[in-house]
Symmetry: C2
Subunit: 395 residues, 2 copies
Amino acid sequence: MNNFEFYTPTRMIFGRGTHLQVGKIVKEYGFKKVLVHFGGASAKKTGLLDTVCSALETEGIGYVQLGGVQANPTLSMAKKGIELCLAEKVDFVLAVGGGSVIDSAKCIADGAGSPGTDVWKFFTKEAAPSGALPVGTILTLSASGSEMSASCVITNEENGLKRGFNSTTHRPLFSICNPELTYTVNRFQTGCGTVDIMMHTLERYMGGTTKETPLTDRIAEGLLKSVVEAGAVADQDPENYEARATLMWAGSLSHNDLTSAGRAFMMQVHQMEHELSGMYPQIAHGAGLSALWPSWARYVCTAWPERFAQYAVRVWNLEMNFENPMETALAGIKVTEDYFKSLDMPTNIRDLGVEPEKIDEMAEKCTNFGTRTLPGIKELGKTEMMEIYRMAMEA
Amino acid sequence: MNNFEFYTPTRMIFGRGTHLQVGKIVKEYGFKKVLVHFGGASAKKTGLLDTVCSALETEGIGYVQLGGVQANPTLSMAKKGIELCLAEKVDFVLAVGGGSVIDSAKCIADGAGSPGTDVWKFFTKEAAPSGALPVGTILTLSASGSEMSASCVITNEENGLKRGFNSTTHRPLFSICNPELTYTVNRFQTGCGTVDIMMHTLERYMGGTTKETPLTDRIAEGLLKSVVEAGAVADQDPENYEARATLMWAGSLSHNDLTSAGRAFMMQVHQMEHELSGMYPQIAHGAGLSALWPSWARYVCTAWPERFAQYAVRVWNLEMNFENPMETALAGIKVTEDYFKSLDMPTNIRDLGVEPEKIDEMAEKCTNFGTRTLPGIKELGKTEMMEIYRMAMEA
């Protein structure tokens, strides 16, 4: 087990009807002027936006609205939010939505707390925020874990780069998680969320070579089992509260570092997916992960078949082939791939419309133009990335 | 799954050598005068106390010391600490020790932050703290989970009552957890710690009737499996880093409400044990739990044998008897009892020197003199408690 720090100060308020408390909660912290940040039409259509704004009004809290955040949230939207916060003297950013809205809110919070600095520099590591507005969330999509994490991913439309920036400055103060708000999430987005949640833990579980983390392993395996079961139920029965609740809580735990305590890891599939959806913004993040993971897994598993066999046995209840762990490892990858297919998630990048001639450029970008390789069970440079993209094209 | 709040803001700094950072960490927060609170001779003998004080001195931070905290920490010690904090204008309480020292520090922090109020009233729910000094810990014993929890248990020597008080006011700001500092914990105390950690999760897992918490169940089961394995290793090989690290991290997770998210529960065995060690202060908490649990489990399991069978199958890898779940349930209790015995932990209260004629008084106190029953899989009133104490006497 490696040394680690674990810090999850976000207050999680979980369960039925909890979003109705938002006015009281914001008042409790003493905020006066809120930016209510949201996505598209669904927050309006479902009446959630009205409910939230009424709850703020009831407590006498002022607010301004900024909607229109799209999947793969953009730098230009964040810049718009920063300007609005400064102009309106906003002291709290409330994200009402899923990971894209929350990440956009985080970027706005950092930017509004660090006036005069180009926020993109936080993502290129050329600068750090000098301050940040506090952020809260009302979660409407179980997937990113952004509601409890320090991470934030933004796409710069000018150069097509999608980059992440982890910072405690923008970790949510509180997150209100009502699984009922995810009943209206459609089948495709539910599948994307299930894959994303699994990947946040799988990439920790298989993203490095640290040995001797039995407790972290067991928690990761238990989370994966629960998500597999709940994801299948929610796929068929979208208003099943218990399944939606399991996905929602798992989503938060999967990306708050609980499932990597004591482990070194690099999220190679996430990194490679960022180049996919960076270049093809229509690709949903979860679908991109689903399309890449089986090929990534088959490529790297030869370096540590026992780890993949443990996953197969403990998460999928497969029988261990003691004479040939690789066979068990491959069976675990196959059953995962079949599970993704059962959710109608893609398992190759061809179906996502990725053009073979773009593989070189994606790999080049993923090495940050030749300036990095990605450590892991197998270290990935441009050559290895191209091979995985190619496998995922032909899968 | 029930609605819940989950809030664990303590910054956990985990791993080899981490205690050496204490001066820098305290300075980072800007504290000027620290109460260094500790237990008996071992903190001095091992040199830990000197190391901690040197680290504070290096950063120019003032401190006063208060040692002598014993197992089942007392109200009188806490009052002494409160006076010292007020007299010396202490602004931060640093506990260097295990759960007893940390709980004593928490009580001091509440008292020093609420001058003029009798702190015992916090434990009898007659008053609440108006403020509290911040608390940090350097953990030297894996057991109580107090380093990451809101709980605090104090014994009032004047009336022999041992009472708990949960409050966010005294939740540690940070906890430094170096498993190496537990190498010197003797075999008996290691066993007590292993039992205590297991009980914090078992009492959540079996402490109520909430259904449909699959993720919380899996996390609890994974934690229990890991603790059983690591406890057996540490029992035989006290300087095994990985086993000590698993116990330490499990100890923190076991009592921070992760293993009860969405579940209603009452820690019946803990409540009944408090009366044991309240009346017989020589009884170590973990030993008291070990002595009571098998009898408690056999008494209540008839009300929900499937739950105990699930425990037996998932934690102990026992085969499910599908025709007769009660047989599996009882086998799971037996294997747990055997495990406690393998650590030389008591499995009856007779061996602890408890007198049969005191059973009535213990049960009376545990009902808070007839004013409460304890809800759970089976609700316990005085009659039921007496029966469990009797079973534990004769076991």
